[in-house]
């Protein structure tokens, strides 16, 4: 984050302004990515008028950065009408997230004319057989790359977003090299988000502990490995009063059905803009207020963890594990892979594990504990 943006974020925090909001325009999609957390059926998306009304309310609330995402945003027939409204009328800084397979020269030129800040495209591999096996759409890599070239030729800022899974973990250096060659930025994320309905089966697609360790020790990604992987100093009183993340503080998320959540990865319902004004949800929702009240000192298990001040703990992932004040196992794994030191959560689970195995394995005919071992 640039110094000035950081300063503006601090000011927004003090003024209780949602500086950055993601709006998903649709959950419909023309790809079927194996790890996707969304249900792609349309259960009654907001209409054009409803979304424009929402955008009015967001601008009035002080939102500056508006991320339009989905689903696939270009499946909405009114996409450019909404984009034009957001940019020309309401002067948002607009970022787009898309697979871009519907973007050609004409669309790229319109995006450029409307002054979009950046376009993030999901690219999982440099190899069609890997990328297309993740999106389940033959030819999708080629189409996404063609789109990236169209956008780039318009002078737009393009970013490749690469979600790491067991299926594509070996390809990220090539994706990054391809991006560099095209003058494109790239990001890498080993996080797999559970389905919005709570189904966690997709987590099995994630990379294993050893691969994660390798990724987090890759100089090309993290720079100074020794520094990046160092164990943080013990948390002091000040750091324990820090905020866990920006969700509900300066950012939030709105679904295609008007539901407002603290973050796209934090499906705690806080209100619906079809029933209430956005600003009332933002300022007065008990759930928003609850999330806003949490400090690192309030976390169960994590407060006493070695990694508390350096952990990337996502409260949304923790919420999906059952407790937004609890640990997020994926982030525990990340801290462990980075430093080699197990988190407090991992240690607690380890302490419990033998008992659980013992209980599960008690043969009904044998009463002696020695026989169980």
């Amino acid at each position: 984050m640039s110094g000035l943006l950081e300063e503006m974020t601090d000011r927004a925090l003090k003024l209780n302004v949602p500086l950055s909001v993601q709006v998903d325009l649709t959950y419909r999609c023309n790809e079927r990515c194996v790890h996707c957390y969304l249900d792609h059926e349309d259960y009654g998306e907001m209409t054009t008028a409803e979304i424009k009304q929402l955008l009015d309310q967001l601008a009035e609330a002080g939102v500056f950065i508006l991320t339009l995402s989905g689903g696939e945003i270009f499946l909405r027939k009114d996409f450019f009408e909404l984009l034009e409204y957001a940019r020309r009328q309401l002067t948002f800084c607009v970022k787009l997230k898309t697979n871009a397979i519907m973007v050609r020269g004409v669309e790229a030129a319109r995006i450029r004319d409307l002054g979009v800040e950046s376009v993030q495209i999901s690219i999982y591999s440099n190899r069609p057989e890997v990328h297309d096996a993740i999106t389940l759409v033959p030819g999708s890599l080629q189409r996404s790359l063609d789109a990236a070239r169209f956008l780039k030729s318009q002078g737009l800022r393009v970013i490749f977003a690469n979600v790491l899974m067991a299926q594509n973990v070996r390809d990220y250096p090539a994706v990054r090299a391809m991006a560099t060659e095209m003058g494109i930025e790239s990001t890498l994320d080993p996080t797999i988000t559970p389905m919005m309905d709570g189904n966690r089966s997709v987590l099995g697609l994630g990379i294993g502990r050893e691969d994660l360790r390798e990724v987090l020790h890759d100089t090309a990604l993290v720079g100074n490995v020794e520094e990046f992987c160092a164990i943080a100093d013990p948390a002091d009183e000040n750091s324990l009063h820090a905020l866990p993340c920006s969700a509900s503080h300066t950012t939030c998320y709105v679904s295609p059905y008007g539901d407002v959540f603290p973050c796209v990865q934090f499906p705690l319902p806080t209100g619906n803009v079809r029933k209430q004004r956005f600003i009332d949800i933002w300022r007065h929702s008990p759930q928003m207020t609850d999330v806003r009240s949490i400090r690192l000192k309030d976390l169960t298990t994590c407060t006493s963890c070695t990694h508390v001040s350096s952990c990337s703990r996502c409260p949304g992932l923790a919420y999906m594990e059952g407790n937004m004040r609890g640990p997020s196992s994926q982030d525990c794994e990340r801290s462990f892979a980075r430093t080699g030191i197990p988190s407090a959560n991992m240690l607690a689970k380890k302490r419990l594990a033998p008992n659980l195995v013992q209980i599960r394995n008690i043969p009904s005919s044998v009463g002696s504990p020695a026989a169980i071992a």
Partner: protein, 102 residues
Amino acid sequence: MSNLYIARNPRAAARNLGGEMMIMSARDSTLFTLNKTATILWQAADGATLLSEIVANRICSEFNVKFADALQDAETLARELAGHEIMQISEQPISAPAGVPQ
């Protein structure tokens, strides 16, 4: 007397945060904040009003400054903002500027 027209660049992003205007250049995503005078200029930059009129009616009436000095400063600022592609300047009226940010 300046005969310049100024307009908010429709490709720039802008928002007023607690009385301070944040502007992001669409050219390179550079973020700027405008002081009170620059914010007045930005908000009045409709492409149809001469810079000199803006200075006379909005700046000189608000601040205790001489018109000639204020106009020179405003021209310098407008050219600087135009250099970052967050404002447009022309000797002709400019059509379709960006909306007035909230």
